[in-house]
């Protein structure tokens, strides 16, 4: 949502504005002097530049002023605005491109001053620190010193490693106790709150704080389904939103398809099933509530990991409004998974929760980043409560956040590697396994092999080992992994440097892992393992940054794509910027938060940041694929079953861009949107093409970051609240009297009033007969009404209407037509002259707002010298149409002071009087050809008037009628309805209304176009009547008309189409109105209307089929 700065009201959402096309295209001084070509140039030709473009806009929902804006058409940025009549500014500032993070020097200074985070390494304990800061429990070997129960049985067997305890079903360890894979002490789960849930028909137990995935793992269940295309068993692969495999269907309490089990918080009574790659939509309506709220802040921090928390902490006490949004139930981000700095997390969270101007949004995923720092987030408010969710609280809420500044601290996703059979249940991202151990107290397996290209997986290996998992080997593609390898060895773990995993076995669950020197096929070794941890490096979560319009660049050292520059006020901190070392992450976050608020004029205190040791570092190795034996699939996108071979087929077919290979193979198009596979796919394609991945880039990141349900996006915009419903002051009477309603614009208008089981046809014939033979009345309050006031009101209306309004006498009424500059009919209605300099203009029901906008546009941009003001008074008046030969008697009986005789109160006059004691303006106008009045009163008294008319008309059988009868009555008289019988290509002359087009006026809008060669063509479509030769045959509206009784071979020349079609009580037959080429010259001619398989013969007639001499008008 763009913010458009109204020159008066300031920045507002673009939804408040209407676009008016190119600015500075003045209406020609004397259109009649222009050639057709010059006039056509004015009408139809506009510039279409790339770059700055001056346009007209109006603040339609606000001050109704038209103004000019210079918008860059390539970026959509509004560069400047200025008021109508002002010159376009010669210069204006373009928005600057900012780096995703400022220069490092700057940050170092900030960090040093602010936090001491860059302090020297602090060594605690005898062991060197392990990338875990002082907050972490203890060095390797001490964490979880006791092996968990159930893991002790298997001693090393013949092969390296141990016999896995799995029963090879992939469905669990088969232990007798519940949760055999639960660590006795670890994790942040609430062991005092056990929860029961069902998966694939089996009941299990977990704890509050579990995800469905962690609870399944605790019960030894790792396989959650099969893959979509190949039907291969698939298991839990990650611990977060990036999950490609463990996509489940929630069955109860409410069915929901395709949720990653890694993101479903466990609740009591949860029932879920695994999916074969595809879920099922619920068939019952969702009973939950969903809503949306708008929020504004000085700083939005996305992600409450170390960087995000540090950023929010820096901003917390400044007085600025800060929102911190995180998708997890509790802040901490990656620290929850690594187990580091948890005291600092808790302290900081408590301080943020207590800060008056800070809002911490938990369980809230920011999923879209749009123009002008407008971000959308979805908060899962009651999903985690299961059946306990209160009915009156929305289940999910969409936050529409407008932030002055944004800090993206969205972290990074671990990348997989493409090796043979890398998809078996038991293959898991390394950091995810670490998170299960530290956060959920779950061992994802008993015997693990770790396969890595970088340092980060060592910490996972050490934590798993400490928790009692037998880590059989760390397989590192790097020849010299450095100090981390030493630490692993010290912990008793074998490290195979310069090695890679070349294959796996197990059905369904992993049972063994084959390893060979990287790039070689000999020297293979096999390890028995039920868990294979994989780390192919880290991808910054740059999705939101990219959506914001930010550019990414390839970082050679990290071997991945990182945020580079952006035009929005956003900064990226921590893992999302490619910083993976905790001290740097914290410093970046704090500095980013402080900078953002300083830019907004706030003073920030330095937050208290924990001291963090700097771990040893060895550069990662860029690896995407591992050579394998022929025929073994190497999966790139697990969710779409896309392999290296599939990508090879794409490049073999000539694809040279990742956007093309994506569409060819569907890699990255599943509901995980390729979070674990995107960069891997780029890397594979780069290898296949023999180019560098930096030249290839990534596919485009589009919202939403994670799937968002339609229900959440709809919010409360459904059912009766989907679109505003407009009603008149008489609405309840209509409802009470059985009216069916027709939507006209947003209005609910009575359509017809069926009585005693009447169908529509019978009811409408009855209502029509009452209007033609007795008396009937209708609620006409919905017609648009505009008060036009000022000394130049007459001049102005003469320019707007095709006919003359300035000569109208006070007390009289005139029908008028408005055209667009192209000469086509735009609106019609009556004009009442209230006073010398005051008119009341009526518009069609649906066009009221458009006509007022239209008037303001001309007044404000073309004719500002005219002293005229236009004001909507549509709802100031309620209008009742009283129609029929007996209407005079009814009115007379209620308006004793009104002389109702024809000579006293002639057609097209208006009178002020009282009707039923109510002050009223009565107009003698007719849209039916019958004697008729329109009675206008205050809507506060409309019901009293209506009921008085109903009572006074009872002796004459007064009948309420709706829009359908109105349409029939007017069509019998050939009165067109703008928008039904016209479609923007019809001139007043086409409608047979040349009489409404002034020949005297020097100019009016549309006049010049009426002299164009095209509008003078004899074969233009004219409005005519159509009489089916069988008087009972009904022509559907839209039916085409052809010349012959036999259809020629296509293309069949079309002569026109039916615009309105009815059954007439007065004519005793069906009839229609139609736009027909040269129609007025065809009156009497027979044409054919294809209806279904038949060609219905019809006769062209005058559009005025009833009372052509107008004898009924005066009663």
């Amino acid at each position: 949502m763009l913010l458009i700065p109204c020159p008066w009201c300031g920045p507002r959402d673009e939804a408040e504005f209407h676009y008016g096309g190119q600015a500075h295209v003045p209406y020609p001084q004397d259109p009649s002097s222009l050639t057709d070509e010059d006039w056509a140039r004015y009408l139809f030709f506009r510039d279409n530049p790339r770059g700055p473009f001056a346009e007209r806009w109006t603040h339609a929902s606000g001050c109704r002023r038209w103004f000019n804006a210079v918008r860059d058409t390539s970026t959509n940025e509004i560069l400047t605005v200025y008021r109508a009549g002002e010159e376009r500014p010669a210069t204006f500032e373009s928005r600057q491109v900012h780096p995703a993070r400022p220069a490092l020097e700057d940050e170092a200074v900030q960090a040093e001053a602010g936090s001491g985070a860059a302090a020297p390494v602090e060594v605690r304990g005898a062991q060197p620190p392990l990338g875990s800061g002082p907050g972490a429990a203890a060095p390797v070997g001490v964490q979880g010193a006791q092996p968990p129960r159930g893991s002790g049985g298997a001693a090393p067997s013949g092969v390296e490693g141990a016999e896995p305890l799995e029963d090879r079903t992939g469905r669990g360890g088969g232990g007798e106790e519940t949760q055999p894979f639960r660590h006795p002490t670890r994790g942040r789960i609430h062991r005092d709150t056990p929860l029961t849930f069902t998966f694939d028909g089996t009941a299990y137990q977990g704890y509050k704080g579990d995800t469905l995935a962690s609870a399944l793992l605790a019960n030894g269940v790792i396989q959650t389904g099969t893959s979509i295309k190949l039907g291969r068993p698939r298991g839990i692969f990650s611990a977060g939103v990036e999950e490609p495999n463990a996509v489940v269907q929630i069955e109860a309490p409410f069915p929901e398809p395709m949720l990653p089990a890694t993101t479903v918080e466990l609740y009591d009574g949860l029932v879920a099933t695994g999916l074969p790659g595809q879920g099922r939509l619920a068939t019952a309506p969702d009973p939950a509530r969903y809503d949306a709220v708008h929020a504004h802040c000085d700083l939005l921090v996305v992600g409450a990991g170390p960087a995000g928390l540090a950023a929010a902490a820096a901003a917390a006490r400044s007085g600025a409004r800060v929102i911190l949004a995180d998708d997890q139930p509790e802040p901490g981000g990656s620290l929850l998974g690594t187990g580091e700095l948890l005291d600092w997390v808790d302290d900081t969270t408590a301080r943020l929760d207590a800060a008056p101007d800070v809002r911490v949004l938990r369980r809230t995923t920011v999923f879209g980043y749009y123009d002008d720092n407008h971000l959308l987030a979805v908060e899962r408010r009651t999903n985690h409560l299961g059946a306990e969710a209160p009915e009156h609280v929305s289940r999910e809420r969409v936050w529409r956040i407008r932030a002055r500044r944004v800090v993206l601290a969205t972290g990074a996703h671990e990348r997989s590697l493409a090796f043979a059979d890398n998809d078996r249940p038991g293959v898991m991202l390394a950091a995810s396994a670490r998170a299960y151990v530290n956060r959920h107290g779950v061992l994802p397996g008993r015997h693990a092999v770790v396969f890595t290209t970088n340092d980060s997986a060592y910490a996972a290996a050490l934590d798993l080992a400490a928790a009692g998992v037998a880590v059989e080997a760390v397989v590192d593609t790097r020849a010299e992994p450095g100090e981390w390898a030493e630490r692993a060895r010290q912990a008793g773990i074998e490290v195979l440097t310069g090695h890679a995993v070349t294959g796996t076995e197990g059905a369904p669950r992993l049972t063994s892992v084959t390893v060979a020197p990287y790039g070689e096929t000999t020297g293979r070794r096999e390890f028995a393992a039920d868990l294979l941890l994989v780390s192919g490096g880290w991808n910054p979560v740059a999705h939101l940054f990219s959506q914001a319009g930010g550019k990414l660049r390839h970082d050679e050292e990290l071997g991945t794509f990182v945020p580079d520059t952006c035009r929005q006020a956003v900064e990226v901190a921590g893992g999302a910027s490619g910083a993976f070392e905790l001290a740097r992450v914290l410093a970046q976050g704090a500095a980013a938060g402080a900078r953002a608020l300083q830019a907004e004029g706030y003073t920030c205190e330095s937050p208290r940041l924990p001291q963090v040791a700097t771990p040893p570092q060895t550069p990662p190795m860029r690896v995407f694929t591992i050579p394998s034996r022929e025929g073994a699939p190497r999966f790139v996108d697990l969710q779409r079953d896309v392999t290296v071979d599939d990508l090879a087929r794409a490049t073999g077919a000539g694809m040279r861009s990742v956007e093309h290979t994506k569409r060819y193979t569907t890699a990255g198009t599943a509901n995980d949107q390729g979070k674990t596979s995107g960069v891997l796919a780029s890397g594979v394609v780069a290898e296949l093409l023999g180019v560098d991945v930096s030249a290839l880039g990534t596919t485009t990141f589009r919202p939403p970051y994670t799937p968002v349900s339609f229900a959440a996006l709809a919010g409360r915009d459904r059912g009766a609240l989907l679109d505003p419903i407009r009603t008149t002051a008489l609405h309840e009477w209509h409802v009470a009297h059985g009216a069916l309603f027709e939507n006209v614009g947003q209005w609910k208008r009575p359509w017809y009033y069926p009585q005693d089981g009447e169908d529509m046809e019978t009811a409408v014939l009855r209502e029509c007969a009452a209007a033609r033979e007795g008396v009937a009345f209708m609620d006409a309050s919905t017609l648009g009404k505009i008060d036009v006031q000022g000394p130049d009101a007459g001049v102005f209306l003469d320019l707007l209407y095709t006919n003359m309004m300035s000569t109208l006498k006070v007390g009289m009424i005139r029908y008028g037509v408005m055209c667009r500059p192209d000469g086509m009919v735009f609106d019609d209605g009556t004009v009442i002259r209230l006073d010398q300099d005051r008119y009341l203009v009526t518009t069609t029901t649906g066009n009221a707002a458009a006509v007022l906008d239209w008037m303001e546009e001309w007044l404000q941009t073309e004719w500002p010298e005219l002293r005229v003001h236009c004001t909507s008074v549509t709802e100031q008046w309620a209008t009742v149409a009283l129609v029929g030969p007996r209407s005079r008697e009814v009115l007379g009986s209620l308006a004793p002071r009104l002389a109702v005789a024809n000579e006293d109160f002639p057609f097209m006059a208006w009178r002020e009087t009282t009707v039923a004691g109510i002050e009223a303006r009565v107009c003698r106008i007719s849209f039916s050809g019958e004697l008729a009045y329109e009675i206008n009163v205050s809507p506060w008294e409309a019901l009293a008037l209506w009921e008085a008319l109903y009572e006074a008309g009872a002796p004459y059988g007064i009948t309420p009628y709706g829009t359908e009868t109105m349409h029939v009555l007017r069509a019998e008289k050939g009165y067109p309805i703008v928008g039904q019988d016209t479609d923007g290509t019809v001139t007043p002359q086409d409608l047979g209304m040349s009489w409404v087009v002034s020949k005297k006026k020097r100019d009016f809008i549309g006049k010049r176009s009426h002299a164009r060669a095209d509008t003078a063509r004899p074969d233009r479509k004219h409005l005519v009547g159509l009489l089916p030769e069988d008087p009972g045959t009904f022509l559907p509206e839209g039916t085409h008309l052809v010349a012959g009784s036999v259809l020629p071979a296509p293309p069949v020349p079309m002569l026109g189409h039916v615009t309105s079609s009815y059954r007439s009580a007065a004519l005793g037959r069906t009839f229609a109105l139609a736009l027909v080429k040269g129609g007025r010259d065809r009156i009497g001619e027979r044409l054919y209307a294809p209806v279904g398989d038949r060609l219905v013969p019809v006769t062209v007639a005058s559009p005025v089929l009833y009372d052509p001499e107008g004898a009924r008008r005066d009663g």
Partner: protein, 201 residues
């Protein structure tokens, strides 16, 4: 018009909803207060703020028509809302529009000033209580924080996809006036009651 029609009881656009609004107010335990303020006098005044009429009309009304966008000026029973650079809505208690209209017209003399009675065009909803701002935030994209939209501020904007005039009342605890077109008032009421369910449910 209705000023003299004492025989006919007046029906406001939201009279059918009065019971529901009161019930929601009670059920919320004071978190939100919702009520229609019917029949307020509302005059749309258009004039050149730099012209002679501006001062004269200001004198006649006893208040200076605000020229700052989105400003509200109050004096006695009258409130003048800025609607546009040459447009104001003068709001007063029910029943005074004839008198008010003639006062303005007389003060304007021969100047091209437009005065239009729009008292029935919009009705007024009171949205108050500690949760008033949160309630409006469900459907209004404006920043209604007191620092931004405090006493003395008004805005024409969209609420629940309906055009409204929002007025921050003098005391932040007094909440907001929401002036809404009469035909949309029923929809807006349904919407507000639905959005308030969190506090009334």
């Amino acid at each position: 018009m209705a000023d003299t029609a004492v025989t006919t009881p007046l029906r406001s656009p939201l009279s059918p909803a009065a019971g529901r609004l009161a019930a929601a107010t009670r059920a919320s335990g004071g978190a939100v207060r919702l009520a229609e303020l019917p029949f307020l006098t509302q005059l749309n005044v258009r004039l050149d703020p730099k012209g002679a009429a501006a001062d004269a009309v200001g004198l006649a009304l006893g208040l200076q028509l605000p020229v700052e966008p989105g400003a509200v000026v109050r004096a006695g029973e009258l409130t003048a809302l800025w609607l546009g650079p040459d447009e104001w809505l003068v709001v007063g208690p029910p029943g005074g529009r004839r008198d008010l209209e003639s006062r303005i017209r007389e003060a304007a003399g021969d100047e091209p000033v437009s005065v239009i009675d729009v008292s029935a065009q919009r009705t007024t909803l009171l949205v108050a209580g500690p949760r008033a701002r949160d309630l409006l935030a469900h459907g209004c994209s404006l920043d209604l924080h007191p620092r931004v939209f405090g006493p003395g501020r008004c805005a024409q904007t969209n609420l629940a996809r309906t055009q409204v005039v929002l007025v921050a009342r003098d005391d932040p605890r007094a909440g907001f006036w929401v002036l809404v077109r009469a035909s949309f008032a029923g929809h807006l009421t349904d919407w507000l009651l639905d959005a308030a369910v969190e506090w009334t449910g």
